[in-house]
Subunit: 452 residues, 2 copies
């Protein structure tokens, strides 16, 4: 395969004080970040000045977890922060170019609301909206929505798939040129360019039409994050950006080839979907400085929070009763299959880790691709995975805001530019144009043409 | 009763091109207002410069009606416009003082989402959010949410009442001082200042807590608009601003006394709720100029739209088959009780109106209090209803934007100020402070004090 041409795409994944679980305790951090609008304005404008494709917000419709001793020591787990759609709408008024991607669950929402809000955001921002389509697997969210438990895996994805069909159908309610708004004749829209959906499915019955004009991007960009079999299939069917997490180059290449290979059966091209894994970069002028920065963050993890990260793998044993710097005690057998946490415990035994060392190991990785090093070292890694077809770009998850984002902007981005791997200015006007995604034709216009 | 002291409150009720049904066809109108963010920025900033308490957006979760010949000639009926929560969030970033009130239906929403989005908007705007709590009585909305018809009246209001209880309960999830965010000790919030709702009611089961910190106003201001018996009871229980419509001073005084009289049984004071009827002002330097302005708008009503306004009262007869400027033909009897439209038909017969004259009469009033005259005449009317305890303020519904709002700001507001009836600067920092509404204590803090 020839050396890959082109440039990679970048998202700035914003989480209030930072992505490290103890970020809010760091001296650089804004502890009240979750409800500090000025903080987000500064981050969004910095990311825009650096020509990031998009800013990205995760979401939870409820606090994740109910151990209040743990929760009260963390700004993570959606304890108390802005709701992303309102936040992104406000940010649309103080930015001009950067994409605005927010998460909304298909499990505890109605497709009409979601179609409408993202279409509205797309109009407000002149074509910069993106919807991160997720399913909710947390009982803590379910309990806020008239349920005792979340939908099981298969049902969740079937619901998500139908949800996406309804949303994209609603986005095509009006053709792009449906609105002459001709004051003279009194014709506001052309009746034949308005389409009623009449959706009746297993999960949803939605008549339509959407009461928002077709938006600048036609459809806001759909982001998707599932890595399960059902998740990859949904990405191939409906996703345009995939946010994912693979630790190694080989895993990344496999995932990339797998998902891209599923597109054809939905009539889609390989370029119709961009794979943008998360990257957690800790950047120093030297490798030692980067490592020291990382350890400074790790030292801020409160033991209660640290122990909670491995509590799922202890078979009910309360590790807080044992010395933190002592060995891991014998644990009861559990019936559950090997979780990621249990794999960590196996590792800990092999490496003879203390309890504290174990939770620090888990806290550090947290499933993301963690890069600790100099800008050149990090650029090497990003370049390799890009040119080897393991990624089309990355969602950058700085450990602490604002300094972690600044480090990336001042160190890594110039290095990527020197290598010709990242833009110096926006190519397009909309998020879709910058990502190199085609603007979808209205399905009703396509059918009319096919029938000619 | 002594002459009433104090000043009246003003809301700018914004509807895309204007409140007159043909507004979008007017030369002054922005025909694409519904998706033109700059248009709304200009209106919000003008209202703020004039010291309006709030801007107000109605909403429909679906287009009202399905007669496409009629819909295609109007920008009304929620055909195609921004969703209000996203729009208000964006406007929060370009305004500093004015209240931001948006409508959200209790019929086709979940209380957790609504509590969260308005709390988020309250944080984004530093205490300027208001929720206009409505029930949805349109089958066209119901059909977008898995239903064939809307909830019947009684059920709708019972659901709305429980919905409001859940929302306000969620807004008290955290006490105001729950977040020390102490980097040193690692304590982000005080566990005992977080309260789990555990709501289990007839319509909703919501565990909580809300994952947003208690907002600057404690609770965003709740606006309510029902004028039915159930609506007035809900206003007295949960409303803080009532948007209403009465044609005459006597009706207004009766409504005012009625609703204010219901507050005591909910342990509320008369000042805990502000009655702010809608006013549709057409303003000229002379009365003749004002009347000419009104007639210019009326002439823009397309006959198809005009006839649709009275179609409910014709017993199925298609009036478009008769000459517009001829008399009203004999109409078949209908079984339904006398609607407002039918009362208009009786009136038309007494006054010998043509079909066109009839629909113009209906279009003009549309249920709102219409004032056509000079700034002084309009100020006289507003003053009278205020000092006679028929209103605490008004929601101004200009016929056409932006000029109808400008006319009010340049003509009526200076006149109100000369009479000492309206502020020259904001008294407070939050919407609640400007409206003279108390900041609600957190219910958990109250209980703790009561228990002392």
């Amino acid at each position: 395969m020839a050396k890959r041409e082109g440039q990679l795409k970048l998202g700035a994944f914003i989480y209030p004080a930072g992505h490290h679980i103890a970020a809010w305790r760091h001296p650089d951090a804004q502890a009240d970040a979750g409800i500090n609008f000025k903080h987000y304005v500064a981050l969004a404008q910095a990311a825009e000045a650096a020509k990031f494709d998009l800013i990205f917000f995760a979401d939870g419709v409820g606090t994740r977890g109910d151990n209040v001793e743990v929760l009260s020591r963390t700004a993570h787990s959606y304890v108390a922060q802005f709701e992303p759609l309102t936040l992104l709408s406000a940010l649309s008024a103080v930015t001009d170019h950067i994409g605005l991607v927010g998460t909304a669950s298909t499990s505890f929402n109605e497709p009409y609301h979601i179609a409408r809000k993202f279409a509205s955001l797309d109009h407000l921002s002149n074509g910069r909206a993106g919807w991160n389509l997720v399913t909710s697997a947390s009982e803590f969210e379910a309990r806020n929505f008239n349920r005792d438990s979340h939908f099981e895996h298969q049902e969740r994805y079937e619901r998500a798939s139908e949800f996406a069909e309804v949303v994209t159908g609603l986005w095509d309610s009006f053709e792009d040129d449906a609105f002459p708004r001709d004051k003279e004749s009194g014709r506001f829209f052309e009746p034949e360019k308005r389409h009623v959906l009449h959706h009746k499915g297993r999960f949803f019955q939605v008549q339509g039409p959407l009461n928002v004009a077709r938006s600048p991007q036609g459809h806001p960009v759909i982001v998707q994050a599932g890595s399960s079999e059902a998740g990859k299939e949904l990405a191939a069917k409906a996703g345009e950006v995939v946010f994912t997490a693979q630790q190694t180059l080989d895993e990344a290449k496999d995932f990339y080839a797998d998902v891209k290979g599923r597109l054809a059966k939905y009539g889609r091209d390989r370029d119709d979907l961009k794979i943008m894994p998360g990257v957690f970069p800790v950047i120093g002028r030297t490798e030692a400085e980067a490592q020291a920065k990382f350890e400074e963050l790790q030292a801020l993890i409160h033991p209660t929070v640290g122990l909670s990260l491995i509590s799922g793998a202890t078979g009910g044993l309360d590790l807080s009763l044992y010395p933190l710097d002592g060995p891991i005690p014998d644990l009861p057998e559990t019936n559950s299959s090997k979780s990621r946490q249990q794999l960590f415990i196996d590792l800990a035994r092999r490496e003879n880790l203390s309890i504290r060392q174990l939770y620090l190991r888990v806290a550090g990785a947290r499933g993301h691709w963690q890069l600790v090093g100099t800008p050149e070292q990090i650029a090497d890694q990003l370049e390799e995975r890009f040119v080897e077809y393991g990624a089309d770009g990355y969602n950058i998850m700085p450990p602490v805001f604002p300094t972690g984002l600044q480090d990336f902007i001042e160190g890594v981005i110039p290095e990527l530019r020197r290598r010709g791997l990242f833009r110096s200015d926006y190519e397009g006007r909309t998020l879709r144009e910058n990502l190199g995604l085609r603007r979808p034709a209205n399905r009703h216009v396509q059918s009319a043409k096919a029938a000619e």
